[in-house]
Symmetry: D2
Subunit: 311 residues, 4 copies
Amino acid sequence: MSETWTPDHMRKVFEQVKNWGRWGADDERGALNLITPAKRREGAAAVVAGETVSCALELPVHPSPENPHPAMHMMLAAGDDCLIPGFNFESVMDFVGVAFHGMATSHIDALCHVFVDGQMYNGFSKHDVKSTGALRGSIMAARDGISSRGVLLDIPRLLGVPWLEPGTAVTASQLEQAEESQGVRVAEGDILLVGTGRDARRAEKGPWSPIQTGLAGLHPDCVPWLHARGVAVLGGDGVSDPLPGSGIPDWPMPFHQCALVAMGVHLLDNLRLDALAEACSRHGRWVFQLGVAPLRVDKGTGSPVNPIAVL
Amino acid sequence: MSETWTPDHMRKVFEQVKNWGRWGADDERGALNLITPAKRREGAAAVVAGETVSCALELPVHPSPENPHPAMHMMLAAGDDCLIPGFNFESVMDFVGVAFHGMATSHIDALCHVFVDGQMYNGFSKHDVKSTGALRGSIMAARDGISSRGVLLDIPRLLGVPWLEPGTAVTASQLEQAEESQGVRVAEGDILLVGTGRDARRAEKGPWSPIQTGLAGLHPDCVPWLHARGVAVLGGDGVSDPLPGSGIPDWPMPFHQCALVAMGVHLLDNLRLDALAEACSRHGRWVFQLGVAPLRVDKGTGSPVNPIAVL
Amino acid sequence: MSETWTPDHMRKVFEQVKNWGRWGADDERGALNLITPAKRREGAAAVVAGETVSCALELPVHPSPENPHPAMHMMLAAGDDCLIPGFNFESVMDFVGVAFHGMATSHIDALCHVFVDGQMYNGFSKHDVKSTGALRGSIMAARDGISSRGVLLDIPRLLGVPWLEPGTAVTASQLEQAEESQGVRVAEGDILLVGTGRDARRAEKGPWSPIQTGLAGLHPDCVPWLHARGVAVLGGDGVSDPLPGSGIPDWPMPFHQCALVAMGVHLLDNLRLDALAEACSRHGRWVFQLGVAPLRVDKGTGSPVNPIAVL
Amino acid sequence: MSETWTPDHMRKVFEQVKNWGRWGADDERGALNLITPAKRREGAAAVVAGETVSCALELPVHPSPENPHPAMHMMLAAGDDCLIPGFNFESVMDFVGVAFHGMATSHIDALCHVFVDGQMYNGFSKHDVKSTGALRGSIMAARDGISSRGVLLDIPRLLGVPWLEPGTAVTASQLEQAEESQGVRVAEGDILLVGTGRDARRAEKGPWSPIQTGLAGLHPDCVPWLHARGVAVLGGDGVSDPLPGSGIPDWPMPFHQCALVAMGVHLLDNLRLDALAEACSRHGRWVFQLGVAPLRVDKGTGSPVNPIAVL
């Protein structure tokens, strides 16, 4: 980071973009409040081609450098033993389980996922997240699903490269250049997805450790930009924050700290965006309807998701 | 069942509605093929009010008579120990896991979930579902999500009762009466949801065991009706089949056997439909856009889902 | 409980039997310290017949009234798909998981499992047990295994009944009568097992809910008796405490509160003792070597175990 | 391997050491039958010092190169939320789960774990191990625990090195030299543990991938030696077989194939043996009582264990 981005400056940005109290002292939905009925209709109106595209990776059941805690997928009964006793019926079943936070599962972060100085969005205490679950800021804020207009900004496309190298930080200025280049403008209530080419790099070079090698993400100067534009939900093929960390003391992950905590903006992490970029490019349109349907996990800190773009 | 519904008759129905080969010998999507781009646009066009309603129950983490195998929700770190070592960042995390088939989790059945005579949809063998996962007919057929027009037929409303008693079988004639009463008509490519009032009964009487006490569902005479209408996906607040079983030898669950296996129609089980019925009633419209976004579980037999209706 | 057993009296008993500081301010082993090398030799010397008997129930993978949270046992690969790719080797594997506390899994309670007034054994704070695990009083105190002389007191045998009814409380006087009747005397460093006939009742009447119907256990007047005798570990076919609760305000489970917290006596819950009683009776000896081998779970609150008696 | 060790030769060895039918056509205990009551008494008589030593690693909950599938340890309730509702009782709980086969969990292999030509010990078919569990050869064969005389042969000590390098194969001749050097002789019914210094190497160099870098183990010429001596159970700090594989076509893991399948010898994998070696050396005795207490997992292919040596 340049010398502008001191802890003091981050603190000022944090205070400047803070939405605490904006939707009431008890609000747990944060910037989801920006998705109005009119905005949902605008999302539906963005459906032109009638094509759906998934923005999720496959559930990461295999260990890999980017996935040190594999998800669980285990059969309970397969074709070799599928007859249910006493009931002439052939059926198979399985179990899925996942510690979805991390760097390999496409997931949504609930607002309680991160604290700054022991406080989450809207000033709720970290002590409201107990060993038995989150009493405040849980993913149940999004229990009825998220449906809005989605916008994809494809930064490698802007820069004419296949991918951004790990650690790269995309600036607000670059987001605006991508808007111009793609002929879109991010507006209040939008779900903004920023592509950095992680899928292309993985396909070419194999998976890598985001902790050790890093991930591309957004420069902290995008924080006020997102606030000004009124973005409702932010997603990316990484974790929005470049890794390994911003280098700003006390603010290692400015987006996790400012988007989730200050602005109440839910984050979509580890999306797969290459197929969406291809479809948008093919249709020549970078807006679409985006649906995100978290599992209804009471007291949960987020959920694995498969966000679906309808173009 | 009346005496018409013998095993021989069920077999004839099974053969009559069979879509095997209809979309190619290798097809694994089944009736999802009926959801065309035009149909997805029709779904999007059904968004009028700009309201989202979840059709899922909360993940059933507590044991209950309807839930003998509770789902898992466990915190990995809570507010009492949220500082990530060596990284000045406060964060909490959890794990979710579920054996989602059963009677208490809102889920989608993949086409490989059920066999008749050892065969799944399109004639694939039960031996393609191994202890390590499903090589054919997995939920990956729906990996890009399902988005179409949804229709809710609310049978208790038709009959003027708060709920149907466990074991009740809704006939095709009643579905048509509900259509007429609600002013809708189920058409090709629709996702049909049939409400039987399970949520209302649970709210009033507490949870009960579907295995022992039963569930309301559809009469097998709805099988040819669904085929004739070209329903793409079928869902309900029960498991489509009345429990405990149809009473027809070898055909204990005609919908699991004919919808999944013969027709290639994915099933949505254990939905929560009371909130959707309330919203439809309030808006005076029983059609909506419905999005279903299964987790991308390679070789999976289905997925927990939170289907979102956008009205 | 009789009127003697008031909260004040329980408090006095708690203070009277307290071993805090007895083995040092940092001690986490509690009464395991009573198992000296000589005691282990005494245990080994109790082996006469050369027969082993398990004191554990099968891992409870099926839901039942006594087991609302079934354990997990899932195959990762079975005989239908056992060839490891790229390695000409046929192998099968599985996964086991269990929330072992509860009423159906044979397990050992670590000393951190229970608090009185926010304190565990030796005065450590409940806040030392975090959402990420126990920093004090974990099962690692027994990481090198427990091996000592075991003594079984078989109360139904004493009373000439097949089992004690749920809720029954065995008194210290009855323990002494059983000693006399069986020709044994519980001594310092022993592992004491008290049988109440739960296995026989389950075999006859089927499983029942310990929470709703209750379990037989020990009367609180056994607390000072255990302390006087110097019992190192206490186990039973129930949970040592009668259920549902003692009826003494603030002291619902006197043994979980006084044995674990005051005395530092580890508890073995939900053992299977019918086979051991049969073997002891057959050999005419009620002492044996007993080995308990908790899994080495760092920061764990206990472990599922299969205690093995060698007669 | 030298040219002697061809697939044909391995096949002859396999046939030569085969115990199928030796203890009856239905036998599922294999060489555990060699542990007679007299042998158990001999084990107990080996207790001299009265000291217990664990032979298990800690449950591997953290990802590492030797542990790509971490075990699960999750708190269900910690000190921040330990008051059980409606029951004035403070208690904490957790969950443990593990896919215990692999290279980082101390575990016992059931006889059904491996097949040769589709057959397990005593000729049972691989098809008896279903997606729902093992009908034959499960770990329930050892449900009453294993207690016998244990012998540790410490090969690095013999060779005057801190550890054997990965891939090293210890010969039968070396086992005999270790016997002579340590003043012990492996006899019928013993549990033989062979140390290769894995713990010392891990402590010095950090964990490594057994798949990629390898593990030390036994040369196949130890197979007939083990058979001749009548070893009941074989264990080691690796997986008995050197990795990566023997290099003999079709016989990549001669011990998993000959010990488990031909001889019916259960295997103990990934033990921790440094503490036991230290204790044996200190006491100047290399024999001890060894207890192994698998969890009673019906249809299980093995169990995580904490084998306890009593010296």
